[in-house]
């Protein structure tokens, strides 16, 4: 359904793509005083960003290829950790070395000693070396076959919240940010790109004029480039993760896959990500499925260092496509994670800039360099401030969680989790709606937070609520909260009873698709139980 275009809006810059890079660019440019329109066809961070390993890491792997990438990555990670301190937490890896591993313990420790030189850049501690007995004391689930182990520290982050905090700050500084809004075409004047046409969630087609259009669409950037008739050459690589709804271990664990790649079992705030794969991808970017072979590849690799992994029940999978820069002949795993800012004026298309490649840990730097390029084109002189300016919720210290809990009659754990998403704005969130009801008990999430997310954080459905506040992200995978959450969102958005029902059913069906490839024996049993609990949805 397409309606007549409305009168075009006018902006200095239009950014296409609401992943962490696009959101970072929008924030950077808005802080420099430019008027910005940010457009995302799905939800904020729903593509590559959300399917990452949820880590701000320095990339010790790149020490074999390019120390400069490690240095830049650590440096920018240090900035992100400072401006987003409510969202980050330490992730400490125990890396066991087994007989016949690609690297023996001395080589592994050498790599860590070199990496230690970069660790202070991101406010992390140096490595430690452990004997087999010590490693087993730290993590009794490790294989007793290990020869020794080293530790390595990185930072974990909720990438969905990181993206949204950038969007929020961009909007606070005058930007307009629209999710569920797809760019359908670029507006051109001869060789120059002068704006975009886009379709909103209600089918309305609109036009916006911009002096510069930035293509920050990640793996979709070749598609956006094609609208301007310029090639953007990537070598997209698919990566999957298995998600376990608990921390399996307090320390994260690294292992080696059958083909010698590093696999990570990453302990995040209450859940574990096991990944990742890295395979050339040629399919439909909007329909990337997990296949059982990929699941088996990950389990086989981690089972070697953590033998009981198959006893744990994953609750879902994530899958995404990395926008890796094109290179012929190299193995996927050896491809650089570097990025490039392309001003297409050199190809005869003025007013159009693409940012391609890169990784989550360097998003801020990528945004800064892209914004610099945009400002040069516009003749706008204003310095970048994103390295030091705190993201929303980080302007001041948070209240002690027990005080917040007491004041708003919620549990201290709910207060801790709330602060990890909203930082010093947690009290403001709880004041939005007078209810101490816990809506999602596994996470736990209050009704007030969900109401706030609908009113102020562009949540338009259950999948958006999953990303923004973590609805249905826990062990029950929505079995006990999805109907309640649908009722609250529906009440705020004016849904009818049948719309609320349909939203819950569609969400459960969608999450089932991501769970099917990982269901083992106990998984199927629990699936049956959950389906029994949700039998009213006619799944």
């Amino acid at each position: 359904m397409s309606r007549e275009p409305t009168h075009p809006s006018a902006h200095d810059v239009c950014v296409i793509g609401g992943g962490v890079t696009g959101a970072g660019i929008a924030r950077d440019l808005a802080l420099r005083g430019l008027s910005v329109l940010l457009l995302e066809k799905g939800d904020w961070g729903a593509g590559t960003t959300g399917a990452s390993s949820w880590m701000i890491h320095g990339g010790p792997r790149y020490l074999e290829f390019d120390w400069d990438t490690t240095r830049l990555s650590c440096q920018d990670a240090g900035h992100i950790v400072t401006i987003a301190r409510n969202m980050v937490y330490r992730v400490v890896f125990v890396i066991p070395v087994l007989p016949h591993d690609r690297n023996n313990i001395e080589r592994m420790e050498t790599a860590m000693e070199v990496y230690d030189r970069f660790q202070p850049l991101k406010k992390a501690h140096p490595h430690r070396r452990l004997t087999p007995a010590e490693a087993l004391q730290v993590e009794p689930g490790l294989t007793p076959d290990l020869i020794a182990a080293v530790t390595m520290e990185e930072w974990g982050v909720d990438p969905h919240r990181l993206v949204f905090a950038n969007v929020q700050d961009a909007v606070a500084h005058g930007a307009r940010a629209l999710n569920h809004t797809r760019v359908t075409d670029l507006v051109r004047d001869g060789g120059k790109v002068i704006g975009v046409r886009y379709q909103g969630p209600d089918g309305t087609t609109s036009e916006a004029r911009a002096r510069v259009v930035v293509n920050a669409a990640g793996p979709w950037s070749p598609e956006v480039g094609a609208m301007a008739e310029v090639p953007v050459k990537l070598r997209p690589a698919k990566g999957i993760h298995l998600v376990y709804p608990h921390r399996i271990s307090n320390f994260s664990i690294s292992g080696e896959s059958v083909d010698g790649r590093d696999l990570l079992m990453v302990s995040h705030a209450g859940f574990t990500l096991l990944g990742t794969t890295d395979d050339d991808f040629y399919g439909d970017l909007d329909s990337v499925d997990v296949i059982e072979d990929e699941v088996e590849y990950l389990l086989q690799g981690i089972e070697r260092v953590f033998p009981s992994i198959r006893s744990y029940r994953p609750v879902r999978t994530t899958t995404g496509v990395r926008p890796t820069l094109f290179k012929w002949r190299k193995y996927e795993d050896e491809l650089s994670r570097r990025y490039v800012v392309i001003d297409h004026a050199s190809e005869g298309v003025d007013g159009f800039v693409t940012i391609a490649g890169g990784k989550l840990s360097m998003y801020r730097l990528m945004a800064e360099e892209t914004s610099d390029a945009v400002c040069r084109k516009l003749g706008h002189q204003a310095p970048c401030t994103t390295a030091t300016r705190p993201l929303p919720g980080n302007e001041s210290d948070v209240d002690p969680p027990e005080e917040l809990a007491e004041r708003y009659r919620i549990s201290a754990l709910a207060a801790i989790k709330l602060q990890s998403r909203h930082g010093s704005n947690a009290a403001k969130v709880l004041s939005e709606f007078d209810s101490e009801r816990l809506l999602c008990r596994c996470e736990p999430i209050t009704e007030a937070e969900l109401v706030y997310s609908v009113r102020h954080e562009q949540v338009r459905g259950l999948a958006d609520a999953f990303r923004r506040v973590g609805v249905a992200a826990g062990p029950c995978a929505g079995a006990s909260c999805v109907m309640r959450a649908s009722a609250v969102i529906g009440r705020e958005l004016g849904w009818s009873a049948s719309q609320r029902f349909d939203a819950a059913r569609d969400f459960i069906r969608g999450s089932w698709l991501g769970r099917a490839p990982i269901l083992g024996h106990s998984g199927w049993a629990q699936e049956e139980l959950a389906r029994g609990a949700l039998r009213g949805l006619n799944l």
């Binding site: 020490l63 430690r128 530790t151 608990h246 754990l413 816990l438 826990g474 006990s480």
Partner: protein, 131 residues
Amino acid sequence: MGRTDSLAKLAWAYGRHLARRRLTRPRSQLKDLLDTYAADGMIALEPAERLRHPQLIGCINCGLCALAAGRIGRTRLPDVASSYMRLYARLGGASSDLSGGEPDLEAAAAACPVGVPLAEVAAIVRRLSAG
């Protein structure tokens, strides 16, 4: 060029590392490790807890145990098993949620459809939240 340069620097670092290992006596770094991350709430499971761990985290928050036995402190029983048992590193900040009354955990476990041993779960959660 970048790769050659990187490998050469790593080779140099490797030589220095081997020399240092020969010339200095290694000392245990376990205490340093645990001290460094104690503030972040990273506490290892005991070997016995590790063995039983997959059985301890089966809760799907159906709520039957709450009908059988109520709450630990201010916290509903299924939340102890489904939420607090997720080994949050910052569980120490939520210890007040668990202080108080001791319900009949055996009766609660008997009501559990997936067989979560609630007494064991409660003991672990309390140990971890005590820091």
